[in-house]
Amino acid sequence: MLRFVAWRLAGLVPVLGIVLVATFLATYALPGDPVLVMLSDHSSNVEMANRLRAEYGLDQPLWKQFFNYIAGVAVGDFGMSYRYVRIPVVEVLSDGIKISPILALAALAAAASIGVGAGILAAIKRNSGIDTAIILILVAGLSIPNFAFATFFVYLFSIKLGALPVAGWGRIDQAILPVAILAIPSAAYIARLTRTFMLEVLGQDYIRTARAKGLAERVVIARHALRNILVPLLTSMGIIFGGLISGTFVVETIFNIPGLGRLAIDSVFARDYPVAMAIVMLFTAFFVLINLAVDVAYAIIDPRIRQRMGVK
């Protein structure tokens, strides 16, 4: 098991390397010279432009800039922010990094519990009124974009009812709406998957055997059916989590949460490339780590996979 984890962690290095090269070249190719952005109205001031270029190492050839950047990243130095005077990128990120993962994980937990519950309920009550109602809600959850939900929820809960704050971060009540909005599409997706898998499993011979043994329906569902759909469900969790991460860009902007998603958007607009690049790297690492966690979870749930991995 440890060897497996170590191997996968080593795999992180080439993935991050490729992302690093790609983002570095992409920011270089984007229109908008960062020095001109910093100078703004004073871009005809050659003396100032040269000074800034030298200060940020932008006067060196591209390959050298890239090498310097890699050398810095290797020791955890992502350079200086272009936008904030004399503030290192690591410091700009330090607050957001405590927020976005929590937001995404909370939404994942909410989405998984609601989604799996609704999916099982719909499968058990197949073709009933409850099933139809759940499917209707699922379709709405999947097809209505989350910014539309957000606007509606804010209007209803914050402005009309005054029950929840409109925006911000730091108190529990400020987290309710953003987590809910972020969770909705994922919850709907998980519920749909659960319902489909569940229906398939419920038709299997071993379920019939379990029922024939005289086991209570609760035990049949929880121990025999649910456990068998966990592996395909977990597979999709990695993808779902990717969706949640990109969802934070929208939700953090709407609810004004100072996380990495909002910061990423702000820094792209402000041409603060070092910050934007660092966020892309962070999200990549995060995404890879979550997928690793999913793989490890397989092994815990399914003894067959554990065996294939050579884990005892």
Partner: protein, 514 residues
């Protein structure tokens, strides 16, 4: 479970403490974090919003553009020389408790010139002081043109006349701060004399300033100001509506909603921004613009009243020439630009281009925020004058570089004033020697009037020179004036003294929460 309950109770207490502390703290939105919070590197809008309440200069100005003396009690021109002698206010203390003296003035000016400080806007204001080049090049740290006479008297000499020096927003800082708190002082304290002092900056969330209890002047009536970082305009409006903001600086995306909402009329403040807007016609790039009749025809084709209603929902005002209201040297009786398509057609025909025939095609360019306007001009000029105009939207920094280099033929743009005197616009925008004369309209008579004005200390005399220069610009159609966009603010009924001005918000020292 008990742990959870304890944690929850803790949260509630925190929330309660926060509410109690916020009771008299004014909450207002800003679009982003400030890029810096010190008066030397200061170079952008959000930082200016905060710093204006924390630091002070020789003078300040009222919402209608009147100059008031702040750290300078008085000043006199040095006889026979370019320069001033300033008498500084006594019994003024910095936030550190140290006394404000002439030494701090000299220190601030030297910091603005020093090669390693990355000085921002302020660097432009010290450019004419004697000895500035030696400090900039690192040859010396001492600014030879600044002479400390005694603790409260200082003389400043210039290489060229600089009659507006006393009103430049140069914010003085505590010369002892680095020795006391280290080079990183700005993270923990402020080094000004203003009615508020730095309290906390939580990046991405807010900047908070506290009332300065030791302030030398009339003290603030509120406990502090919290500038909440809210990049999204719709979110900011929703927060205002839900009572999470006391003052809303209305953003572009919500202007329409705010202007059309009759229920907000009492809370709404609409003032023209100190930004001079124009449609530039560069004769060096597009030869037909050398003919005044072509420029005038284009100006006559623009329906400004229609634009103010259609584009801006009445949140805009007619600009007659160059200078905007709320700026000293503004005259409200200059002739208003006319809308007359028939006269425009006639003029273009007289210039040798009847129905636009013979005019080479031209791009009208600007940044994405001008997109709708560009389309309007292109359509209108094509329909009325038969000109072939293509719309070209360019990335901002690239576009500014091209304008500065004089490469852009035809573009709408604005120039925001840094201090409330018309000289800012008149000299920087259209003097032939200015690096910011982006339309490349050159007029010798205009130059001569402005040169004379820069050496005229007497306000009334100088304003008459401004007026003559502005008339030259209007008569020669240096560019086509465009409507001034408004700053719009919403202020809750229980807040008084928070005023939107052409230069952003007035100092919050006058604000009160009932």
């Amino acid at each position: 479970m008990r742990v959870l309950a304890k944690a929850f109770a803790g949260f509630l207490m925190l929330a309660a403490v926060a509410t109690a502390a916020d009771a008299k703290t004014l909450r207002i939105n800003v679009t982003g974090d400030p890029a810096m919070l010190d008066p030397i590197t200061y170079s952008e809008l959000v930082a200016g919003r905060v710093l204006r309440n924390v630091y002070e200069g020789f003078t300040d100005f009222t919402p209608d553009g009147k100059i008031v003396n702040v750290l300078a009690e008085s000043w006199t021109a040095l006889p026979g020389e370019h320069g001033f002698r300033f008498n500084l206010r006594k019994n003024v203390k910095f936030h550190s408790g140290r006394a404000f003296t002439a030494k701090d003035v000299k220190y601030t000016l030297e910091q603005l010139a020093a090669p390693d400080t990355k000085a921002g806007i302020g660097a432009g204001y010290v450019a004419r002081i004697v000895g500035i080049e030696d400090v900039k090049s690192g040859k010396t740290k001492e600014l030879s043109g600044v002479k400390i006479v005694d603790d409260h008297t200082i003389e400043i000499r210039f290489t060229k006349p600089d009659v507006l020096f006393p009103i430049y927003p140069i914010w003085f800082m505590d010369s002892g701060i680095v020795a006391d708190k280290g080079a990183d002082w700005v993270r923990t304290v402020s080094a000004g004399t203003g009615p508020f002092k730095f309290k906390e900056w939580r990046r991405g969330a807010f900047v908070e300033i506290d009332a300065n209890k030791e302030y030398w002047g009339n003290k603030a009536k509120i406990d502090g100001v919290r500038f909440l970082v809210i990049p999204n305009g719709d979110t900011a409006l929703a927060q205002y509506e839900a009572g999470e903001l006391d003052v809303l600086d209305v953003q572009e995306s919500t202007i329409r909603r705010v202007m059309r909402d009759a229920s907000k009329e009492k809370e709404r403040q609409v003032v023209p921004r100190a930004q001079s807007r124009f449609l530039a016609m560069n004769p060096q790039v597009y030869a037909p613009f050398k003919d005044k009749r072509v420029r005038e025809a284009i100006s006559l084709t623009i329906n400004r009243d229609g634009m103010i209603r259609g584009f801006y929902d009445n949140a805009a005002f007619q600009l007659h020439g160059i200078t905007t209201p709320g700026v000293a040297g503004y005259f409200n009786d200059l002739p208003k630009p006319k809308y007359d398509p028939e006269a425009a057609k006639k003029l273009l025909a007289e210039a040798g281009f009847p129905g636009g025939r013979g005019l080479p095609p031209i791009d009208i360019s600007s940044t994405a925020v001008f997109k709708d306007e560009l389309t309007y001009y292109a359509n209108e000029l094509n329909r009325t004058l038969g000109m072939q105009v293509n719309v070209n939207v360019v990335e901002r920094a690239t576009f500014i570089r091209a304008m500065n280099a004089g490469e852009v033929a035809f573009f709408p743009w604005g120039w925001t004033s840094g201090y409330p005197d018309a000289m800012y616009y008149l000299e920087q925008m259209w003097h032939s020697k200015s690096p910011y004369n982006r339309g490349r309209w050159f007029n010798a008579k205009y130059d001569a009037l402005i040169d004379e004005a820069t050496a005229t200390v007497d306000d009334a005399k100088r304003f008459q020179l401004y007026r003559q220069a502005e008339m030259v610009y209007i008569d020669d159609v240096g560019a086509a004036p465009l409507p001034m966009v408004a700053s719009i603010a919403l202020v809750k009924p229980n807040v008084t003294g928070a005023r939107a001005t052409p230069f952003g918000f007035d100092r919050f020292v006058f604000a009160e929460i009932k």
